[in-house]
């Protein structure tokens, strides 16, 4: 499954532009090699079976990272991760086609009700926190923005820093590319579900590219996962709260949310082992590696 997922786009990209495909392969290899040295000695090697997970695209990368590391430690276990969106994942859970649903939002009441009708007992597991910091150049005088101001900036309604308490300078809007889960979450939380990002927003291929441009450009504004914050940029307080791991964890910072896994009933057997592993040190380390906030 995972292999197929990688090979198909890889092949397509290869056909179109070999450069990117090579970069992709190079990036894939070390990740696959390093864990091979550790397994075997683990006592948990008796675990055996299949776990199917589907849901949130935001969680696709972290889910894949979890599943790959878990499968390396437990060679007899097969964990398949699929995206498609939180709603798709929960629907699949309700249909009994998957074991876990990845969801980057709370389960809706009607979804819970649909589960009860089928005699299911949907259990919620918080597995990580997703928080997004809004950053500007340290030379920028703007210290705080409201959610409304931030939304207006990203919708392209406010285009000059002087309209939000800064100097008279056009705002340089920086965003992640639309393939990023961060792009989606920021759109939902800030831009608005029915609105679109300003067309003039520069969509940069990586969080690092956003940081670099904000560092170099005193008119830039960007957003990055909390895990990527550095000293070189200034964090803008949103609705009076500065982005930080504790503020994201206690819910006081507005652009943060829990990431969930839902199951039918309390997980048992390999499902319990997988969940426990995710909530444990190794799983939470991967949360950090993927740019999310670990559970407090």
């Amino acid at each position: 499954m995972n292999l197929k997922k990688f090979v198909a786009p890889g092949l397509a990209v290869l056909l179109l532009m070999s450069t990117v495909a090579f970069a992709g392969c190079a990036a894939e290899e070390p990740a696959a090699e390093t864990p091979v040295e550790t397994p075997a000695e683990e006592p948990a090697a008796e675990l055996e079976g299949t776990i199917d997970v589907q849901g949130s695209d935001t969680m696709l990368n972290i889910g894949t990272a979890w599943s790959e590391a878990f499968m390396d430690e437990n060679p007899m276990v097969e964990v398949s991760i699929q995206g498609g969106g939180s709603g798709t994942g929960i629907a699949a859970l309700l249909n009994g086609t998957v074991d876990f649903a990845h969801s980057s939002r709370d389960i809706k009441d009607e979804e819970l009700a649909a589960g009860e009708e089928k005699g299911m007992d949907i259990v919620e597991h918080k597995v990580a926190i997703d928080g997004i910091a809004v950053i500007v150049n340290p030379a920028n005088g703007v210290e705080a923005l409201t959610m409304e101001q931030l939304g207006a900036i990203y919708r392209g309604e406010v285009t000059n820093w002087k309209d939000v308490g800064g100097v008279d300078k056009p705002i340089v809007l920086l965003s992640r590319d639309s393939s990023s889960g961060t792009y989606e979450f920021f759109k939902e939380a800030v831009v608005g579900d029915d609105a679109e990002y300003a067309a003039a927003a520069k969509l940069l291929p990586s969080t690092q590219a956003i940081v670099d441009e904000v560092v170099a450009n005193d008119a830039g504004i960007g957003y990055i996962g909390l895990g990527y914050l550095t000293e070189d940029v200034k964090v803008v307080a949103i609705d009076g709260v500065k982005a930080s791991v504790p503020a994201a964890a206690d819910g006081s910072y507005p652009i943060s949310r829990y990431l969930y896994m839902y199951s039918d009933g309390e997980p048992a057997g390999i499902m319990a082992a997988y969940l426990e592993w995710i909530l444990g040190a190794e799983g939470q380390q991967l949360v950090v590696d993927e740019g999310f906030v670990p559970l407090p």
Partner: protein, 308 residues
């Protein structure tokens, strides 16, 4: 050029197994020759097959003329025009950089430099062609983005011009090599004839050699253009990728190649967005195929012209 074999031993040693081996080798070489055509055809079919859903559901004309590119909204907006225009803007800047520099360098190498300089220049140019595009991209991020921002007093250095300059530099080796070949192919008699009429070397070059090689140089430009329009990594890193209809080359643009590279990793397999990216690939393929075809036809014409 090589001298014919003097011994007849090779002929006597030809056994049945050897003949069979030769047949196999010939078959393999024959197959390899056809392979390029088969692969090309397969790519075309593959692109068309995968973009079928996009053409069906989003509509070819709607996609080609639409100006809003919001592929992950629901419903997704798949207006490709900003991407096509973005690619053309970047490529235009690249041409403005690589044609004058490339042709001038080819003229110098072919007409004015001594043998040693020529050999050294040629190896350096080959080395330039071998530098990976991501390295050009990195240098562009570190040097060119701040430079462009300051030089043109822009709000951001991530513009079509930034990507175009780097693409132009990347296309220079292609333009030089092929232009130099074209100049080299001009028969020496033409130059000698011109010199005999009392023309200086400059006059000969500009009035005789360059016009005589013009179709080859045109082909060089076309191939450089094909290289520039298809380049991905550097533009992804340098142009800012905002899907706007750019009013000038000093604005951020989103190119077709950059879009495919940035978005392909996360799309749902077989979904509409997936298919639309293939449609973008098909448009790009058609453009580059056309460019290369024209270049080839022109080159062929030049070869015929000087063939004896």
């Amino acid at each position: 050029m090589t001298t014919p074999p003097t011994h007849s031993g090779r002929r006597l040693g030809r056994t049945t197994t050897r003949r069979a081996a030769e047949a196999v080798v010939r078959a393999i070489i024959y197959l390899c020759g056809w392979m390029a055509i088969i692969i090309l055809a397969a790519i075309a079919v593959f692109l068309m097959w995968n973009s079928f859903r996009a053409v069906n559901e989003a509509g070819l004309f709607t996609m080609l003329s639409g100006t809003a590119w919001y592929p992950t909204s629901s419903p997704g907006k798949f207006g490709m025009l900003p991407l096509i225009v973005g690619s053309l803007f970047v490529t235009g800047v690249a041409l403005a950089v690589c044609v004058p520099v490339g042709v001038a360098a080819a003229v110098f190498i072919s007409e004015f430099s001594g043998r040693l300089v020529k050999e050294v220049m040629k190896s350096i140019i080959e080395f330039m062609a071998a530098v990976p595009s991501v390295v050009y991209g990195l240098i562009g991020v570190a040097v060119l983005i701040p430079f462009v921002k300051d030089a043109f007093s822009l709000t951001s250095g991530m513009t079509a011009v930034t990507g175009g300059i780097v693409l132009g530099i990347m296309s220079i080796p292609t333009v030089i090599s092929i232009s130099e070949d074209a100049l080299h192919a001009v028969p020496e008699e033409l130059r000698q004839g011109s010199a005999a009429l009392g023309n200086t070397r400059w006059q000969t070059t500009f009035k005789v050699t360059l016009p005589a090689a013009s179709s080859g140089i045109f082909a060089a430009v076309m191939l450089g253009l094909g290289r520039a329009i298809g380049e991905t990594m550097a533009v992804l890193m340098l142009t800012g990728n905002a899907a706007v209809m750019p009013a000038s080359v000093f604005e951020s643009v989103r190119t077709m190649t950059g879009t495919i590279a940035a978005e392909m990793g996360e799309v749902v397999q077989g979904g509409l967005h997936y298919s639309v990216l293939f449609a973008v690939g098909l448009v790009l393929f058609t453009i580059t195929f056309g460019i290369n075809l024209v270049a080839d036809l022109v080159l062929e014409r030049q070869r015929k012209r000087w063939r004896r």
